[in-house]
Amino acid sequence: MRHSRFTAILSALLLAATHVCAFEVESAKFYDAPSGGNLIRIVSTADIEVFEPIILAFQKLHPDIDVDYTVASSTEVMNAIYIDGEPFDLAISSAMDLQTKLANDGYARTYRSTATANLPDWAKWRDQLFAFTQEPAVMVVSDEAFKDIPLPTTREDLIDLLRDHPEHFDGRIGTYDVRTSGLGYLFATQDSRNTGSYWRLTELMGRLNTKLYCCSGQMITDIAEGRLAFAYNVLGSYASSRLKDTPGIRIVPFNDFLSVMLRTALIPKTARNPAAGGVMVDFLATLNTRLELNAQTGLPPISNDIGDLSNAMRPIRLGPGLLVFLDRLQRDTFLRSWSNSMEQE
């Protein structure tokens, strides 16, 4: 019985296909509070360098809370809660679909406060999942590659551009390998939902020998160093933070639509100190009142302005719709189509 349930969870857990053992930790750091005693354990997909300013600001406000910060991949964050039942007090992840699945399958606690009540409706789900950043998927281009070519502003523009200058872009396009990157998969599936041009674009990119990456960082580096002309669906927040010290690159936001990923936090059912988790959720939900942190982390806080459709920004909607692309068959189908388009050899 126990075994069948275990396999059941496994089969539902699609991104965790390769790991059966306990979740893999990338790095961890303990932040001792000045007058500590209260401990909050956070598991997160955000790198320590990115998140540290937030923790320090948090401890300035709450000097009694020690923070134990563990970094893991989005799949491993999911594993930690879903399979291992690790007693984390807060799970932060950029994988909205996995976080939604955690909440949907009953692994999250309900939490309500003034701060969460003030979040826009699209930035929370079930009072269990709380978004605290909005990070669009953008195109990052090399200034050098586009000095004679007009910058595309829509996906249709980009398709025309690739058709007109195949030799210019051949082998010089980068994008996520959606088979290995959860974020890349999220952006790709949302694109496929939002526009009919997605598959044509993928087809074209495949024909032009697009290079596939695991992470935004490497793509930006390759653009800066001239190996790529542009990268498609790069995490905007990451690109912005690299912009300062990386010459020769530029961010091109599309006008037709911008998929906006929401970084979310949830308090797991297994939390030992859910109250501290709640305090951290409140802090994260009010990041828009601490713009200096935005400058330090490059994480744009939730703003009430987007959400209406007059804007090209299209926040990915939290809710059961996200479960669709986690479906095993659906994922198989999508990845097969994607692979067929991308790898045409």
């Binding site: 079930r126 909607r317 719709g321 479906d327």
Partner: protein
């Protein structure tokens, strides 16, 4: 007078009963509104679940002999549009889970019909509503039955239910309050004719025994009829007794006159001092008896006439002068002087002359009777706001008798034991004064000993 015992109140009973009915109806309204609305809400959830399951079933296809599925985005996202409920799904092919939550329970009986099968069950610690849709998919050579199960928790439904209950409660309470207020109003209106009747009866004068002619609703007609019949009987009875008294007084007075004459004749013939004294006593007693009989007659007449005043224009000055003149001989017998203080100005008054004469004569007569010999009676007629006719004597006054009771029938002062009297004089005067819209005021004489009786009549 026996105190009226109030047993319950028609108004209260009416209001309570109507409020009770309103409460029952409100409760019924509440239950019906809630039942209908909740049923509608449940049906809405069922419809969306069915739409979701159907859209999944529509996306089933077969590929190389296997059932495949491309899960439509809208199938699950549509469930997220109306509430933030948890969503579970499962696609079963030949008892094997093709995709989804493979511990999501399927209906016990494999539904052979193509109808959607709804059920409410407990899953992962929460109550969920689930629908199972069966679809036959052709996989090349054979047909495979595929069941799509979609389930959703009921938080949204509960929220709607809470809202509906609140609304239904508000509607019910509002209905109850309005109905109660209206029933108060209705009770008030329904009892209005009764109050009107009560007032019209209460407004009547003491001696007004005319039938009630107020317009009354049908339900009150028996009451009014009985009341009128009762009053007519009372009236007949009163008339009978007045007639009896009049008749009796007449019958007594006439023989008394004869007896008095005879007594005087005998008195004149007698020479024995003791006998003469006894005869004088006898004559005096006869006088009093005949006087009483006269007053009884007067009273009967007054009682009758106050019901039907025959008014004419008179001058009070003339009338009082006439009365003083007439009683002058009686006063003179006791060496009593009557001082009339009256101007020659006209004092017009509209009233029943016989009654007024009777009343004033009775007062002056009383004053003479109770005044000691060789004293003065002052009669004063003044006119300012109203006419004041004042009779002040130097008699013994009323002792400590209650001045408000003294006008009662057969009531007399507490210090008149040695004087024969009926106690009707002031009663007559009082009734007459009131019949003319005035009153009788009685006080001790301000100037010194004696009594002061004032008739107050309104100046028209």
């Amino acid at each position: 007078m026996t105190p009226t015992l109030a047993k319950g109140s028609i108004r209260r009973r009416l209001v309570l009963q109507l409020a009770g009915i309103a409460a029952l109806l409100s409760l019924a309204l509440f239950l019906v509104v809630r039942a209908v609305a909740e049923h509608a809400a449940e049906e809405t959830q069922d419809n969306i679940l069915a739409a979701s399951a159907t859209s999944i079933a529509d996306a089933l296809y077969s590929e190389r002999g296997f059932v495949r599925l491309e899960l439509p985005y809208s199938a699950l996202s549509m469930l997220g549009t109306i509430s933030e409920d948890r969503v579970f799904y499962r696609v079963v092919v030949d008892d094997e889970t093709l995709t989804g939550y493979d511990d999501l329970p399927a209906p016990e009986v494999w539904s052979d019909s193509r109808k959607n099968k709804f059920s409410t069950l407990s899953y992962r610690g929460e109550t969920v509503r689930s629908v199972a849709v069966t679809r036959a998919v052709s996989t090349g050579s054979q047909i495979t039955d595929v069941m799509v199960i979609v389930a959703q928790t009921r938080l949204g439904l509960e929220a709607i239910s809470t809202r509906i209950t609140a609304t239904a409660t508000a509607v019910g309470a509002g209905f109850f309050l309005v109905a109660t207020a209206l029933s108060l109003l209705a009770a008030q209106t329904a009892l209005l004719p009764l109050n009107r009747l009560a007032q019209s009866v209460a407004r009547r004068g003491m001696a007004d025994l005319r039938p009630v002619v107020t317009e009354t609703p049908a339900e009150l007609i028996p009451l009014v009829q009985s009341l009128n019949s009762f009053m007519s009987r009372l009236r007949a009875s009163l008339t009978r007794s007045e007639d009896f008294i009049t008749e009796a007084a007449h019958r007594v007075r006439t023989p008394l006159a004869t007896v008095r004459t005879q007594a005087e004749v005998v008195h004149r013939r007698q020479s024995g001092a003791a006998d003469k004294k006894a005869l004088r006593e006898m004559i005096r007693a006869i006088d009093e008896s005949s006087r009483s009989a006269g007053q009884l007659l007067d009273h009967a007449m007054v009682t009758f006439r106050t019901d039907h005043l025959e008014t004419s224009d008179i001058d009070l000055g003339d009338m009082i002068r006439d009365i003083c003149d007439r009683l002058f001989p009686t006063a003179d017998l006791k060496d009593i002087q009557i001082n009339l203080d009256c101007t020659d100005q006209p004092m017009p008054f509209s009233g029943d002359p016989i009654l007024l004469q009777n009343a004033l004569r009775n007062i002056l007569d009383n004053a003479i009777k109770y005044s000691p010999a060789d004293s003065v009676i002052t009669v004063r007629l003044t006119a300012n706001g109203s006419y004041l006719i004042e009779f002040a004597d130097q008699g013994r006054g009323f002792g400590d008798a209650d001045l408000t009771q003294i006008v009662g029938r057969f009531e007399r002062g507490s210090n008149v034991g040695d004087i024969v009297g009926s106690g009707l004089g002031l009663t007559i005067a009082d009734e007459v004064a009131r019949a003319h819209g005035g009153k009788l005021e009685i006080s001790e004489n301000k100037g010194g000993q004696g009594a002061c009786v004032t008739v107050v009549l309104p100046r028209s």
